[in-house]
Every structure is written in C-alpha cells, then in structure tokens.
Symmetry: C2
Subunit: 460 residues, 2 copies
C-alpha cells in the first residue's frame, strides 16, 4: 500500500498514466502459468526513459519496488509484484525508433512486440528471428533471455541484442553496446542485463541485430518410429553440420492435440518439424541431405511444404501447441517445464522424462526446440486437486534435477522468475552467491523486481 | 618487492615453479607493441585451479596484485605488471581436458594455444575457429574477448565460450555456464568474465564451442580500383546475406609489404581476401554470387585458390602481415590501432583514416576484418624519435574519436589493457562507472590486474 505522499508524487509524475484501479491491478497480477502471487499497489505507463528514471528516483526515495511488465507472457512469474510495489507497464513505449538496413540494426522501445516489429520490417528484406512462440514484448524477451524455435540457427536474445539503454535502481541512465558488430571495450554490460529479469535495472531502449529474410525456405514434417529415433535424427542433423533454421520435436500426445486443435492430419507418431533457410541452390542440397538422414532413422511420410500457406499452417499449429495441449483437457491448468541438456544427452533426457510422466498418471505432452537440446513437458493438472499439482511440481523438479545430472540447465529459455528460485543453488552453487553480490551492488535497496532470480529472494 | 614472509609462503606454494630470476621477470615485462610498463616481482607457473585459488588467498593476505599471462601476444599491455605483483603464467596449464564431439564442446586449460588446440582436434572433424592471428592462449583470448579473421562467420570469444572456471580475488572458485547450448538461468556470468581482462578473477578452465571443419572451402583474392570500391563490395556482400567465413581488406601498402615478406605477386592495389565454407553445392553458388558482385565494384583478377596449399599460402601471408609491415621499415616499432564501426560507416572511416595518416607522413598500412567493420592501421615509428611516437599516438586517438563519432567502438578486438584506458569514458560515459562498481565489488582490494580497464586505474 502506497502512502499518501508517495501516491501524490506518483500521480504528479504520471497523471492519468498511473492507475490504482482494481481491474488494472488484477490484470497485472495474472500469469499464463500456475506461477502466481502478489498484486501491485499501482501500475504506471511511462512514455520516456526520463520518466522511468524519475520513477526510479521516486522508488529509491519511497522504498517502493518496481516491476517491469511487457506483454505478461512470462511463465515463471517474472512480472508479478510478489512484494507489492509499482508495476511498470511498457505498452506506451512500443515504438520502432530507427531502422538501419545497411547495418542490419533496429532501435526499439521495450514494449514493442516481436510480431509488431516484424510487421514493421516486412518491406525491408530484414527480420528479427527470435521467436518464443508467444507474441512477447522485446523488452521482456531481453530481460528473460528468451529464445524459441529459431535459436538453433539465429541464436537467443543473448546473441541478438546489440545494445541497451537501462535505468538503474538509483535513477542513473546508462547506454551499453555500440553500433559496431563487435567490441572488446570492457565488461559486457549488455550481456549482464540481458537475462537479468529486471532485477538490476529497467530496459528502456534496445538495439537489435536483424537478419536477412531468407531467399528461400523449405519446411518439412516427418514421423518417426520412436522418440529415440526422432531425437537421434536431430543429433545427426546437427553433427552433420546441416544448419536448420528450426528443428522442433513433437511427441505423439502433442501431435494428437495439434491435430485436434489446428485441424491437421499428422500421423500419430513422434514428429520432427524442420525448416531450412538459404539460397535455392544451397537449400536443395540441405533438403536432399535431410531426406537421406531422416530415412536412416526410419522417418516415414516426410512431407515438404512447398507453399507459403502450408508452411504458415504448420508453424501456426506449432505455435498453438501450448493452447492445443491445454484444450485437450478442459479446465486444466499447466505446469510448464523447460529444461535444456547437451545434445548427446537429449535422447536419454526425453526418454526418462516420458517414462517418469507416464508413471505419474498426469497428462504431459513433450515438445521442444531439440536442435538446442531444449524441451518442455506441459503437465496438465486440475487446480482443484492439490495432489495433482503436487505430483506435477515433483515431476518438474525431477526434470530439472535430471537436466543438471546430464550436464544441462534448469531453464533453457523461460528464465528463473520466482518459479525456479529453488533450483538456482543446485545449478550454480557459489556462482549464485556472486549473482547475489552483483544484485546488491547495483540495487542495494532491493527495489528492482525483488523476490526474483537471486539468493535471499523468498519463494512465495 | 615482496617481503620475506610473502616470498617464503609463495615459494612454499609453488617450489621451483616460482621465479624471481631477472631473465624470467624481464620476459614477463615485454609486450609485442609499444605499450610497455612495469615488471612483476615474481612469476609463478600454476598447474591446477586449486593452486590458483591458494595464490589468490595468498594475494589477499599479502595485498600483492596478480596478473594473468597467456602467450604474451596482447597489444594493449594487458599482461604487464604496471603496479608490480605476481605474474601468473599459465604455460603449465595448457592441456585439452576433454573433447566431446557429440556436443561439439571441448574443455581446456587457459594456457593452451589456439594452434595447439586445433592440432589436437584435427582428426575429430571439428575445429575452434576464432583466429586472432597470433598464436594466442585460449585463456588470454577469452580474457580480452579476442576475435580476428573468422569472427564474421563464427563469432568472437563472446560467442564461443560456453563456460568457465574462475578463481575470484578472495580465492573462491566458481563455475559458469553448462553443457547445454543455451540457458536462461540467471545472470550471464560467462559473458561478464569474457573480456574482463583478468580484472575480476583468473580463468583456470574453459569450455568452448566447436564447429565442424568445413566440407569445402573456397578462397579468393581480388584487386579493387580503390579503397572505397573494396569496402563497398564488402558491405554489399554482407547485405546480400552471403556469409563469408573471412573477408579481409588489405590496402596497397599492406599488399606491398606482404608481397615482399611472403614472396607473393599480388597486384599493387587494395585487395579483398575472402573465404567461403560450406558444402560444395552451396559454395558454388556463393562463389558465383561473389564473382558477380565483386565485378560490379570493379574487381580485377579475381583468383580462386582451389588448392589447399595455395589457400594456406595466402592466409599465412595474411597472418604474417603485421610482421611484414614491421619488416618494411627496419628498426621501426608499431603503434597498432584497432577500431570497429558500423558497416555503413566503414568506407568513410577507412578513407578518413587513410587521409589522416597520409597527411602525417608516418607510414601506416591499413588492414582489417572488414566484414565486421573492424580495421587496423599499423603506424610505424622510430622509437628514437619521440615526435614520431607522439604523432602516431595522436593519429591513434583521432581514429578512436572518429570511430565513436561514427557509432563504433574504440577497440574491436584488442581490448583495453592500459593502452586504451584514456578512451573508455568517451565510449561508455556513466556505464564505465558501473564497470568500476562491479570491479570494486568482486575485487575490493584491487588485486586482480590493477591498473587496467576500469576507472581509477592510473595510466602509466
């Protein structure tokens, strides 16, 4: 609860772009997953970096936490006000500020969504490929180091953010990165803020790397006799040096859900959905090689989607997979998992996870960005049955433990938020303490998204 | 000067792998460039992470600085003991610890050189492509965020270090990164230490990303009617989405020096040296496109080196360019510059630099990794003539200013060391203060490579 002077000053700063209305607070207390907690005391909608800087000074003066909010699509509770405070909704900072086609760069505000960005770029021959599925905001994607289907070729947000403007906890504004493609001029502050989940500062501007829209695209879907064969085909594809733009795994349950939800007729078997980008001459050879390779792993009915509309339909179905899976069990809520392992351990990780889920009795289709060793199980539970929720959470914890045992990470792309706080020590050991030290240095009053990512942040 | 108890304890820790011999100290006071200063009080040759951790504890107890030393090929004085202390020479930690072909990873010790690593990998079908020219140590390359000829395709050390073991100033040992291709589990500590130049800790182990040895390689050299045409051809090549593995620019003076030194007969004109990697089918098209494009920019005598030995000869000459240029003016020393600008500003940056150098009367051939916007002028001065040295330093300072004015960086790949300390505030402004804050947090006693990179580090 904000005291009167704090509220008065906040209103003076933001006018009618500050709200304490119940509906607005409720909207900013929601999460797309089961990870929920906390309600902000107010929501503000800044328009400039200067306004965010003034807000940080206000926050320091009144000791009120600030929590960044992009599109609200995060799955680990990153944008929730677990300790109260002011949610900073960037929807009014959603502009494309500058497109620099010659340098393949674009400067944007954090509230811009990736779909809006690509819409803006459509006539430039360029694209921003990072694609987490949801129409997330660019600022949120940077804050959580998001990735998704295309990371296997184009990299994650780590690789595609060239520079940032950041408002620090004390209200100072810094700029990181340059317009040059590389630099060795000191600490990589850009990389420090990408993935910091708003705990070190608030990102108010981003310079992103763009990529050429591919001259030619080939998409295929192939059914495999087993999960192991499909995964082994992925490993062989990567090891052969074929460089797919996307290579996605869908297990049989996921395929069934997608068929029903998106009106497809894919065979009920583990599937790979693969896409190559390039010039037509190079692509023809990629396609030939993938055909040969997938045949060696028993793929049947390999279909190349030659037409744009067929490709769009397939990827739309892939992107709708989460909703499709949820729709397959009405009234269910999802415990969404996200592990990432070395490619050599991928088959074992997926098979063990499948067996574990099967034994639990909880529906849990598996899908993932397997070219990166990254996969998700969507564990569907009836929230009215606490035992189901507990079982799902135990499954998720075992997935994370398994990932660590196999040399992987507790989260490939969803981030820590507060949903994965309890696993951080297991992954990082003493390095997690170093993260806490860095946090306390840049935010000594613990006002930037408290309760997330670092040690000492209580799990709600 | 170490006091007796400190020296006694150091000898107890390292035995005959500790030296205070004049020749050893002198060897570790040298630099390949004009940037020289300071002599260590002792040099140690650790064999394990534990020994380095014990050394850090010793350093904290006795308040003696520690300076990492790889191959001594840095150009900005990174490895020099500007405030005395103990130089930590990693030559006895030079092992390949583990090759994981399935995951395309290798785990190595920091003293290993990149040539030794690639020799070790030669039968695996894999390679470590980052190539700064010099046979640098992997630890040093990570510490300075090195790159070089192949970064345009394979990235810099930022992109190719997957994880680290680091000994912190207080002797704690942390591990960063995992075996998974990506992660969003907290702050990117790997990226924080890559490029930190030994000022935050000492790297004692690295996990590196490997790449497939290319199935086919095509290398070409082409002469252009002007610097501008050559650079414009680079810009067009990158914008067309052709993805060269290397694309190097050599100005006429550099070509003349290489011809003389490496016994080549290249035409005396600005040249591009370009290489494509891929499968034969894709390469044929890359080659066709580059031929067409370079023709549009007036390239003459485009020669493709079909044979491995011809390619090796060309790249050996490129790598010898620094020595070739030095040899072109006997007894000269070099002021080596290193700027990196947005591609759109590359032609202007190179042309203005050329004119500035020509007006100065100092020989200064230009060459660079132009696909990344990165280039160097090798300013040759007679160290006996202080006016020449001063003129060269003023030229170098104007290059850096020009780079910043054009949206670039003061150093694309050589790092800061103490040679570029004076330019850091101009590039980073308040963000440089944040670097200083991070440094003081992780190294409050200023014992890790003091005098480098951060504010407050006095320039010798």
């Amino acid at each position: 609860m904000l005291n009167v002077p704090a509220l008065t000053e906040l209103r003076a700063l933001f006018g009618d772009r500050m709200s304490v209305a119940g509906t607005v607070l409720a909207e900013h207390s929601q999460s797309e997953s089961l990870v929920t907690a906390g309600t902000p005391d107010a929501v503000v909608f800044p328009r400039t970096t200067d306004e965010v800087a003034a807000l940080a000074a206000w926050s320091t003066h009144h000791l009120v936490p600030l929590i960044g909010w992009g599109a609200g699509t995060s799955l680990e509770g990153h944008a929730l006000a677990v300790a109260g405070g002011v949610t900073v909704d960037f929807r009014e900072m959603a502009a494309v500020l500058e497109v620099r086609p010659e340098d393949r760069l674009v400067r944007v505000q954090p509230g811009l969504t990736r779909e809006a960005l690509n819409h803006e770029l459509r006539t430039t021959g360029l694209m921003f490929p990072v694609d987490p599925g949801a129409n997330a905001s660019i600022g949120g994607m940077a804050a959580t180091r998001a990735s998704g289907t295309t990371a296997v070729r184009y990299g994650t947000m780590r690789d595609n953010v060239r520079g940032l403007t950041v408002v620090l906890a004390d209200g100072r504004v810094i700029h990181t990165g340059t317009g040059a493609p590389k630099s060795s001029a000191g600490y990589d502050l850009t990389a420090l803020f990408v993935g910091s989940e708003g705990t070190l500062g608030l990102i108010t501007e981003l310079t992103l790397k763009l990529h050429g829209q591919p001259e030619a695209v080939m998409t295929a879907v192939a059914a495999f006799p087993s999960v192991g064969k499909a995964v082994d085909c992925v490993i062989a594809t990567m090891q052969m040096g074929l460089s797919p733009a996307r290579i996605e795994f869908l297990d049989t349950d996921t395929v069934a859900a997608c068929n029903a939800f998106s009106n497809l007729t894919l065979p009920l078997a583990p599937q790979l959905l693969v896409e190559f980008h390039g010039h037509p001459e190079g692509l023809a050879e990629d396609v030939r090689r993938f055909r040969e390779l997938s045949g060696e792993f028993g793929a049947e009915g390999l279909q190349w989607a030659e037409q744009q509309e067929d490709r769009t339909r397939l990827w739309a179905a892939r992107h709708a997979a989460y909703r499709a899976i949820l729709a397959s069990r009405p009234d269910a809520k999802a415990v969404v998992t996200d592990v990432c392992v070395p490619i050599s351990a991928l088959a074992q990780a997926v098979e063990e996870t499948r067996a574990d889920i099967a034994a639990s009795g909880i529906p849990g289709p598996i899908l993932g960005h397997v070219g990166d060793g990254n996969f998700h199980a969507i564990l569907m539970v009836d929230p009215a049955h606490p035992d189901e929720v507990a079982t799902a959470k135990a499954l998720a914890a075992r997935m994370a433990e398994r990932s660590l045992r196999l040399g992987g990470t507790i989260t490939g792309e969803h981030g820590v938020g507060f949903g994965k706080l309890g696993l951080m020590a297991d992954e990082h050991d003493e390095a997690w303490q170093v993260m806490g030290t860095l946090k306390r240095t840049l935010d000594p009053l613990n006002l930037m998204n408290p309760g997330k990512l670092v040690p000492g942040a209580a799990q709600p």
